[in-house]
């Protein structure tokens, strides 16, 4: 299996993500430049965190028109796994590969801290190695992580079990106090209806080794690799 990590101008979690695949998981991984237009040979693509194009206009709004995104849309629509982390999630929403939008945090602050998220759906390729209800600890680092969608969209997310992660407390309770940014239903991550595209605000690549304080994030990558 070969994984590609996309680099946009302003990506800053690209090397962290690359490192986890290469050195922690020992997986064949390489970078994909934002102007590339050939994804042949890749089995999965990761859009890493950062501030692509300086977050100008809206987070992800300019990156979604990068040459590589045309190919990623095709790649995703053929059913291949695509995962967007933080800014990558914002790009997937702007590209309409996932429904809804991420607006500024309700507290008007950049939040950079460990959070707990609950595995709501373990029936996706990204969570198949995790028990339903399991609580994962990993950091968030964002200003626009407040998930919003209209009522109809939220209902269809629920009906189709597209909500994968919700912010919770350390005991796994999904409470308003555990919501760091105002997201509807404490949403921290969703998949598309087909289940091959994941967007999440927390950073699993920053929680992939014991020395970083948590290894919970690596479970998501292991699920993706089928190493479970």
């Amino acid at each position: 299996m070969r994984v590609g990590v996309v680099i946009f101008p302003g990506s800053n979690c690209d090397y962290d993500t690359y490192y986890v695949f290469k050195d922690v998981l020992k997986v064949d991984v390489s970078f994909i430049w934002h102007t590339d237009s050939d994804l042949r040979g890749y089995d999965a693509v990761i859009l890493p965190g950062g501030f692509s194009y300086g977050d100008y206009l809206r987070a992800g709004a300019i990156a979604r028109f990068s040459p590589v995104m045309r190919e990623i849309v095709r790649f995703a629509k053929r059913g291949n796994p695509v995962m967007g982390i933080c800014n990558g999630f914002q790009i997937l929403l702007e590209a309409e590969l996932l429904p809804g939008a991420l607006i500024p945090n309700n507290g008007m602050r950049f939040r950079c801290e460990d959070v707990y998220i609950r595995v709501v759906n373990n029936d996706s390729i990204f969570t198949r190695g995790l028990d339903k209800g399991r609580v994962l600890k990993m950091p968030i680092a964002h200003y626009s992580g407040n998930y919003y969608a209209d009522e109809g969209t939220i209902k269809s997310l629920e009906d189709n079990e597209q909500i994968v992660f919700q912010y919770c407390d350390s005991a796994g309770e999904v409470l308003p106090e555990a919501n760091p940014n105002g997201s509807i239903l404490n949403i921290a991550g969703i998949v598309n209806r087909e289940g091959n595209i994941l967007g999440m605000m927390p950073h699993p690549e920053r929680a992939s080794e014991k020395v970083l304080g948590s290894e919970d994030g690596v479970e998501i990558f292991k699920s993706l690799m089928g190493k479970v």
């Binding site: 709004a61 809804g100 939008a101 607006i103 919003y148 969608a149």
Partner: protein, 101 residues
Amino acid sequence: MRNRGFLFLSGREGRRMVKARIIVRYKPGILDPEGKTIYDALRSLGFEKVEGVETGKYFEITFAGDVDKNKAKELTTDACERLLANPVIQNYSFEIVEGDR
């Protein structure tokens, strides 16, 4: 000679640039924490008559010389739909104006 001078003037100073003035705002009901923070600041400064603040983004687009107002309207609508506004959370409005270069 008189004719040449007249042509010279109409060719340069007479050209009017077409511009779009665009405002993108959050849809009603979408949280605007920046607006709320500014509202709180204005109230604390003593602006008791201020009842609400909404923020938005302003854009001014200048079009090429051969674009008339109708064409500018069409191009601006397209630009708003495709890039400037996110229809999930934002509305846009604009006016097309003619101004000297």
